[in-house]
C-alpha cells in the first residue's frame, strides 16, 4: 500500500494539484479579511463564532468543486494514458482506488488544517475576544474534513468510473449549488443532500434583528447524529464506489 501511495504522489508531481487548493485557501482568506475589516467592536467580541459561521458557507460553495477538480486530476491521468488495464495487472485494483483516495485526502485534509491555522492566526491578529476556542476548532477540523473527504470519495468514484470528466465535474458543481441553497431551507431537508452536510454540521447559528440590524451569533451543540449519518454515507459510497471500480472493465 505504501508503494501504491508513493506512486500516486509521483504521478501528481508537476501536476500542480496544490496550486488549485492553495488558490481556494487564498480566496477564502481574502474573503474573511474583507469581512473582518468591516467589523465593529461588538462584532469582534463574536469573532470566533463569525468564523465558524462564515467558513462552512464558503466551504459549501467552493470545496465540492475543488474536491471534484482534485479527483478529476487524479483519475483523468489514468483515462488519458489508458493505464488502468496495465495497472490492474501489477497491483490489486482496490488498492489503486484506496491509494488515490489517500492521495487526494492528503491534499484536502491539509487544506482544512491550513484553514484552521489561518483562522487562529487571523483571529488573534484581528483581536477577537478570548483565546482561540480549541474544542470548537477541533470540531470544525473534524466536521469539515469528514464532509470534504466524503464528497471527495464520491467524486473520485465518479471520476474513475466515467471516462468523460465532464459528468463528475458537473455533478460537483450542481451538488455544491444544491448544498448552498438547501442551507436556506428548513434544517431537516439539509440531511438529504450530501453537499448539505457543511450546513448540518455547522454548530453556530445567527440571529439578525431587522430593526436594529445587529447580528447575534450563538453556539449549538455539535450534531453527532448528523456526523454518524455522514460516516454511514461515507461507508456506503466507499463500498459501492470501490466494488464498481473493481468490477469495471479497465
Amino acid at each position: 500500500m505504501r508503494k501504491a501511495l508513493a506512486m500516486e504522489f509521483q504521478k501528481t508531481r508537476r501536476r500542480k494539484v496544490w496550486v488549485i487548493v492553495s488558490l481556494l485557501l487564498v480566496v477564502q482568506l481574502l474573503w474573511s479579511f474583507w469581512g473582518i475589516g468591516r467589523m465593529d467592536a461588538h462584532e469582534r467580541t463574536q469573532g470566533w463564532m463569525f468564523f465558524f459561521y462564515q467558513f462552512p458557507l464558503l466551504n459549501s460553495i467552493m470545496m465540492p468543486v475543488i474536491a471534484a477538480v482534485v479527483a478529476s486530476r487524479l483519475g483523468d491521468i489514468e483515462h488519458k494514458g489508458n493505464t488502468l488495464k496495465l495497472l490492474s495487472t501489477v497491483m490489486p485494483t482496490g488498492q489503486l482506488f484506496d491509494a488515490k483516495f489517500l492521495c487526494g485526502a492528503f491534499y484536502l485534509s491539509s487544506t482544512v488544517l491550513l484553514q484552521v491555522i489561518a483562522m487562529i492566526a487571523v483571529g488573534c491578529a484581528a483581536g477577537f475576544e478570548g483565546a482561540p476556542p480549541a474544542l470548537k476548532l477541533g470540531y470544525y477540523l473534524l466536521f469539515t474534513t469528514s464532509v470534504s473527504l466524503t464528497i471527495f470519495l464520491l467524486q473520485q468514484a465518479l471520476s474513475l468510473l466515467i471516462q468523460n470528466q465532464m459528468i463528475p465535474l458537473a455533478v460537483g458543481i450542481l451538488g455544491s449549488f444544491a448544498g448552498l441553497f438547501i442551507m436556506f431551507f428548513p434544517e431537516h431537508l439539509e440531511r438529504f443532500i450530501l453537499w448539505g452536510y457543511y450546513g448540518v454540521l455547522m454548530f453556530v447559528r445567527m440571529n439578525w434583528d431587522t430593526t436594529t440590524r445587529i447580528t447575534e451569533f450563538y453556539y449549538l451543540p455539535a450534531d453527532w447524529i448528523g456526523f454518524l449519518t455522514l460516516i454511514v454515507l461515507f461507508g456506503i459510497i466507499y463500498l459501492i464506489g470501490r466494488t464498481l471500480f473493481i468490477r469495471k472493465e479497465m
Partner: protein, 244 residues
C-alpha cells in the same frame, strides 16, 4: 468554410449529454430560489425583482461560470486527447476558425440557457401568484447577461486551449466567479471579465440601472472578446502543438 467548421464542432458534440448540465443548472435556483422567496415574502417586497435576485444571484457568481468552464473544457477535450491536435492543425482552414467555431457553440449554449432561465423565471412568478406585470427589463437582463456569458466563454476557451487539463480551467472559473463578486462589491465589476455576467443580468440590483453605463459595458465586453480572440489565435499560430 467557417460553416463547415461549425458543422464539425456540432458533430463532435453529437449525443453528448453536456447540454443536460445547462438544463439542470437554472432549474435548481428556480425551484429553491422560489421556495426561499415564498419563505421570506415578508422581507422580499419587490415581487418580480426580488424573485429575480433569488433566481440569479448565486448562479451568476458561482455556478454559471463554472459550468461554462466545464463546457469549454469539453469543447477542447477531443483536441487535447491522443494526437488529435496534429490532425486538427493539418486541416486547411485558418486557425482563427477553430477558435471561433468553438466560441459560436459555447455562445449558443449560453443563449439557450438564458432563454431557459427567462422561461423558468416567468413560470415561477406566475406559480407564486405575483400580481404585478412581468418586468419589461427582463429581456434586457437576459440579453446583457448573455453578452457577459459570451465573454466568459471566450476567456474560458482561451484557458482551456492553453491548459490541457480538463478540471483546472473549471477551478479557475469558480475562483474567477468568486473574485467577480468582490470586483462588483468594490465597484470595479466592469473591468473584470467574470463580473460582466452578473452585471449584465443585474443579479444584485435588478430594479435600478447597471452599475456601469451600457456603452461602457459593451466596450469592455468587446475589449475582452478581442483580447481573448487575439491571445487564442496568436497562441495557435506561434506555439507548436503538444499532442499525446
Amino acid at each position: 468554410m467557417f460553416l463547415r467548421t461549425i458543422r464539425a464542432e456540432r458533430m463532435k458534440l453529437k449525443s453528448s449529454p453536456v447540454w443536460l448540465a445547462f438544463f439542470i443548472l437554472p432549474i435548481l435556483p428556480a425551484v429553491m430560489g422560489t421556495f426561499n422567496y415564498l419563505q421570506n415574502i415578508g422581507i422580499l417586497e419587490e415581487e418580480w425583482y426580488s424573485l429575480w435576485t433569488q433566481h440569479t444571484l448565486f448562479t451568476c457568481y458561482f455556478f454559471l461560470p463554472a459550468i461554462i468552464g466545464v463546457y469549454c473544457s469539453y469543447l477542447y477535450r477531443l483536441e487535447h486527447l491522443n494526437h488529435n491536435w496534429n490532425a486538427v492543425r493539418t486541416v486547411p482552414i485558418p486557425v482563427s476558425y477553430l477558435y471561433f467555431a468553438k466560441l459560436v457553440m459555447a455562445s449558443l449554449m449560453v443563449l439557450l440557457t438564458q432563454v431557459w432561465t427567462g422561461l423558468l423565471f416567468v413560470l415561477s412568478g406566475k406559480l407564486c401568484g405575483l400580481s404585478s406585470p412581468i418586468p419589461p427589463e427582463l429581456l434586457d437582463w437576459l440579453f446583457f447577461g448573455a453578452i457577459g456569458g459570451i465573454v466568459v466563454c471566450a476567456l474560458q476557451l482561451c484557458i482551456s486551449l492553453i491548459i490541457r487539463s480538463f478540471a483546472v480551467p473549471v477551478g479557475i472559473a469558480l475562483i474567477g466567479g468568486i473574485a467577480g463578486l468582490a470586483a462588483v462589491a468594490k465597484g470595479y465589476g466592469v473591468w473584470f471579465p467574470y463580473s460582466l455576467l452578473c452585471l449584465g443580468m443585474r443579479a444584485n440590483h435588478p430594479g435600478g440601472p447597471m452599475q456601469c453605463g451600457v456603452f461602457q459595458f459593451a466596450l469592455c465586453c468587446l475589449f475582452y472578446l478581442a483580447l481573448c480572440v487575439a491571445v487564442a489565435v496568436l497562441w495557435m499560430k506561434n506555439r507548436d502543438v503538444v499532442a499525446g
